[in-house]
Point group: C2
Chain length 373, copies 2
């Protein structure tokens, strides 16, 4: 897909389309790659059909064949430049024994939240065998993405929740408006919170490394709740443990480079520090100006984002105009910069599926023009 080859010190896997990996590593691309957070999801009728077949969200996530099926669905509809493993961010605490469930129409819930010293003491990095269904899904998807010669259609992204984001759910037991329980523990018993975060960081690192060994060609850490922390607390209780994950992650697998992406919702205010975390790519939500972000990070990291998912509720020509605004805000990628187009958050279940085509096609067409191609 791209004419230039990678520098000799960066080996990439054989792929029909390696734009996404190249942009992550700030190598030149013919146009801007695009994928969407939660691209395999409820806005697609074919997803809803597979989910009904599975019986439930967890039934779907724990069945490697069906997880593979829904992972590939959006690739068949749209010219997306990456696949992302279909799974949930809370699989790791579930494997720790906290009992994850999803009530219909509600968010995730843990049967055994971690609220006292005794519960914290019992936490440990889970046996990766309990997460076998995830690694099996990764290798199943990789196989399905490969042609007869072993050339992949697009790369596969693996992921996990960040240590802090997992801790939020583990302590609260569910989603929260005010994060009162987890922050009470953090301010009142920082020793317990640090203990949870250490276990989480080591578990997430092992989990992502095992995904990489199973075939994930890039990995992403979702710090969905980092943005609820105060300045100071963010650095100490979220970013420090994201760094602890990153420092343990495989940078290569079988000689091939594995990009690491960190996405902190509401983290634009701390972009400068996140760019120094050791990751290759920083994901941004829609509140951050991409041009300012690019100027700030320079050639330290590539950027991923950041269209407001609600733009997809507008008319096609308006979607097109907003996509162009985002591409113009980043500007023409120069040497040693990289932009991966994405939403600033997961795509809404209410999104009209036809608007996703407009988005994807506009990203490719307009960014090719930007490069003068």
């Amino acid at each position: 897909m791209t004419a230039a080859t990678a520098p000799s010190d960066i080996a990439l896997p054989p792929l029909a389309n390696d734009r996404f990996l190249r942009a992550c590593l700030r190598l030149p691309t013919d146009c801007t790659p695009v994928w969407l957070m939660r691209q395999a999801g409820r806005y697609l009728p074919e997803y809803r059909a597979t989910r009904d077949k599975a019986g439930s969200f967890m039934g779907l996530a724990t069945n490697p064949e069906l997880a593979c099926e829904v992972t590939l669905q959006p690739l068949d509809r749209y010219a997306l430049d990456a696949a992302i493993l279909f799974s949930d961010i809370l699989t790791v605490p579930d494997a720790m024994g906290l009992g994850l469930s999803f009530a219909t129409g509600e968010g995730p819930r843990f049967a055994h939240p971690v609220r006292d010293e005794a519960a914290v003491e019992k936490l440990a990095v889970p046996d990766m065998d309990k997460l076998r269904y995830v690694f099996d899904a990764v290798s199943t998807i990789r196989k399905a993405l490969s042609d007869d010669q072993g050339v992949g259609r697009v790369p596969l992204i693996g992921f996990s929740g960040s240590p802090w984001t997992l801790a939020c759910y583990m302590v609260e037991g569910a989603g929260s408006d005010d994060y009162r329980l987890v922050k009470t523990m953090m301010y009142q018993r920082p020793d317990l919170m640090h203990r949870i975060l250490q276990v989480n960081a080591d578990a997430v690192a092992r989990y992502l490394n095992t995904q990489i060994e199973a075939g994930a060609q890039a990995v992403m850490v979702f710090d969905s709740w980092g943005g609820v922390l105060a300045d100071g607390a963010f650095q100490q209780f979220s970013l420090a443990y994201t760094k602890r994950v990153l420092s343990q992650l495989r940078k290569t697998h079988e000689g091939l480079r594995i990009p690491h992406i960190v996405f902190t919702k509401g983290g634009g205010i701390w972009l400068d520090e996140i760019a120094d975390s050791g990751c290759d790519v920083v994901g941004l939500d829609w509140t951050m100006n991409l041009g300012k972000a690019r100027a700030m990070v320079g050639d330290r990291v590539a950027l991923q984002g950041n269209l407001d998912p609600n733009v997809l509720f507008a008319q096609p020509d308006q979607v097109c105009a907003e996509v162009i605004k985002t591409l113009d805000s980043f500007g023409k990628p120069g040497p040693h910069t990289g932009h991966v187009f994405n939403l600033g958050h997961g795509i809404s279940q209410f999104t009209p599926a036809e608007n996703v085509s407009v988005l994807v096609d506009t990203v490719h067409t307009y960014s090719r023009q930007q490069r003068g191609g």
Copy 2:
């Protein structure tokens, strides 16, 4: 309370304690003033008793005598440097005929949300007589704060929701997780959204000016949902209309200077632009580093904030340490800078009331030491 007198061009009202107004106007103070968003609220047993007497939240808000009673309650318990009118941010759309109600245990709800062109057409700046209960509460509170010589105990702050924040509730009809309806209108029919925001801005300006005429000695615009907007959209749909309000507000009343405060939750990322909006004080939530904020705004505006309300769930010595961290982050106020201590959001209903004493007393004691006093 403060030794220095105001420059001759800034006239302040006769007050036993004018620290808050002085800090808003970046004049020297003996120590840092403090008040708390939602300081008259459910965490106080005496508030709950008065509310039970009123029968409901709206019963309380629409009864000037009872609204006065709860406004003064926190001042009797704590050495707070300002009173804030007890009211709701959604009184203006209620007066427009949208039918505000509060179901028990839930947030606000409008019986007649604004979702189509016909509903938008009907919107108009409401007759201020429909908001008489608010202005009566303001004058009742001012009277209750004054001694026999007409000297006020502390200044009284009036407030309103911002045009955008009101629009969120008016279109959604209630609180929202994703702001899908209001953003759909914004992206799909920007003409309708601009029309709503114009009416809101003019209504909010008239509402705040009438509060000022009734006795409010400072006014605050709560842009509680500005932070959900994308960069670009924030400037166009929130900040532009906050500026439209500010440009119409009385800067003085009966020769006395009335400071204007703007608080955008999640607005730290746009601080530089908000500081140029024409307000005197910018409120910050806890994600923003106060020292960096001070360096950025220079002598353009004073800053208000920004402790995480969840700190109040820690032990008293921990509350004390976090308050000191916040004061140290701002640093010793120099000439032409001002800091009003506050939380970064409303105080939680679950807050232990005794921790508020620790917060208020630590702000005064430590900030007096900071000044070498």
